[in-house]
Symmetry: C2
Subunit: 334 residues, 2 copies
């Protein structure tokens, strides 16, 4: 079904309130999840609010306040205390931005957290502040390396962001053949996975989401993609967390930021980035093919379209459950 | 034919002398090219010495001494003055290592250079000094973005390196379907390219190396790999060079280095990296498949094997030409 953006936001904010996030935290998490929906990445949007609710209302879940350790002028280690990554990542990104703006570069680690969301969310923040960013987040080992059938790394997002005189250039990918959230959503909706995406616990190829979650998701990009995922896992491990965080806990997310004017004129760099993006878009397409896109072009266009239409498509099952969870909350979607 | 390592080194060093590199420069270039050969990446080894000779003996080629501009405690821009990248990259890597060792992190750009070689060469240097590194080098636009048939970025190597209590972990890939050096070598040897690797100047798929060099090489990894190549091009552009350097001149190569002990104990980190590498190697393989490898494992094993056998395989045509070029040099291979 379709809901308006403000309805969707109300549902997410209040679902977050219902699992013990305070008002400011709930707004910050909703900012992130709604941006996922606006960009058409619905597996990380409203369905994710359900996953967060389910996990944080388990008696076994506990969290401590976010704190900072190991700080230097260029670096900080943000201890998430098992708080959700949307909040820990946001704090880490803000610190990385402040430090890099002041000193030229920074490296900030966010540790003991989970679900850091779209790294592009933080890369956009950095690019708006004229910073080049590299962000990498490891996760529990549910993805098999190239040639293997057992999980050794997460779906490991990695992103680069670049400031520009036009739209910032953002590249943000996951290094698994299919996102963990997409597997969860397929399971939730009773759908099968495409071929070649996963192995069952016996190491055999499977299209069943439940079996995939018990076994391993395949890596993307053969040995090159698998190697990138290994690098991401080791970047995350710089945050004083195990290289293989267990069972959806204890992720590490690393933010590296720098000012291009350490090396050259900021204005020249931003103009060069904008011009290069246009050079890419103007590439002659494959015969009969669509125009060549820049990374993030589809996300940015989808976001503009969704905001203009004021409509977000939500699976009925997900919507029902969110309404149920928030039934006792005052107000209701505006 | 097979030559010994010292014969190969003599040929490369003296070919470099024959194109106006001084003794120390010739040794440094040979270190790099011979390491390529030892690792089995022969397209970047002895055949590359020929390409360098051909290019640097053209009347149009000129170079200025390497100089440094825009220096801060954390950063430097190394101006290559059109000197070959093996030398400019080496200088930039050395500066990045010194700055990061002293201050915790560094970003160093090498500009106005070409043929920076294997980024893993510099990543190994950094890892030996207990630094995590990210290195990216752009190049002339002979590779087409995903969905396009015209060159918009280079074969764009990118690497990450991690110190370890065991062998360092090095990931170093190119972002094109096939390396530019491999296309050159195929052309030199009269071989065809595999399917799906290149487009001719009319935008049609081609297996002909000459046509591929006039047209465009395909990107690796679909939209994800193509996006990584775009990011690499923009990282290179931070070195105050055009985002699309023209005609094999004016490359930018960016070195970002950091000390893991900005965030955590160095010894813990290095042990975690070593343990994780073993976790990857111990992954249960695909049924009937070979053991799972870490990135660089094949290179390291090949290097050990070549050194033990003291033998490098060189195409006869390449060997003949190197012997011809160095015929007037005193001495001869020891």
């Amino acid at each position: 079904m379709k809901v308006t953006v403000s309805e969707a936001r109300w549902l997410v904010e209040n679902t977050m309130r219902a699992c013990n996030h305070d008002a400011a935290e709930s707004v910050a998490i909703a900012d992130h999840l709604i941006d996922c929906e606006l960009r058409g990445l619905s597996y990380g949007g409203l369905p994710r609010a359900l996953s967060v609710f389910e996990r944080t209302t388990k008696p076994s879940y506990g969290r401590k306040p976010i704190s900072i350790s190991h700080e230097t002028p260029l670096s900080a280690l943000v201890d998430g205390g098992n708080t959700i990554g949307y909040l820990v990542g946001l704090r880490a990104a803000e610190i990385a931005i402040e430090k890099a703006s002041e000193h030229g570069m920074s490296v900030v680690g966010a540790r003991d957290t989970w679900h850091t969301g779209m790294l592009s969310f933080y890369a956009e923040m950095a690019a708006k502040r004229d910073l080049v960013s590299m962000i990498a987040s490891n996760a529990s080992p549910n993805v098999a390396p190239h040639g293997g059938v057992e999980g050794r790394f997460g779906t490991n997002p990695v992103s680069f962001g670049f400031p520009s005189t036009g739209d910032p250039v953002i590249w943000d990918i996951g290094t698994s053949a299919i996102m963990h959230g997409e597997v969860l959503l397929a399971g939730r909706l009773g759908q099968e996975l495409p071929d070649g995406m996963a192995y069952d616990p016996d190491g055999q190829p499977t299209r069943n989401p439940e079996q995939a979650l018990k076994g391993a998701i395949a890596a993307w990009g053969g040995h090159r993609g698998s190697g990138l995922a290994i690098a991401v896992q080791l970047l995350g491990a710089m945050c004083a967390m195990p290289a293989m965080p267990k069972d959806m806990f204890g992720y590490g997310c690393l933010f590296v930021m720098m000012r291009p004017d350490l090396l050259m004129s900021m204005e020249d760099y931003k103009a060069e980035v904008a011009g290069y993006a246009e050079d890419i878009r103007s590439t002659r397409p494959i015969e009969g093919g669509p125009p060549v896109r820049m990374p993030f072009d589809r996300s940015a266009a989808e976001r503009r379209r969704c905001l203009a239409e004021d409509a977000i498509e939500v699976p009925d099952l997900v919507h029902e459950r969110l309404v149920e969870i928030t039934a006792d909350m005052g107000g209701g979607p505006s």
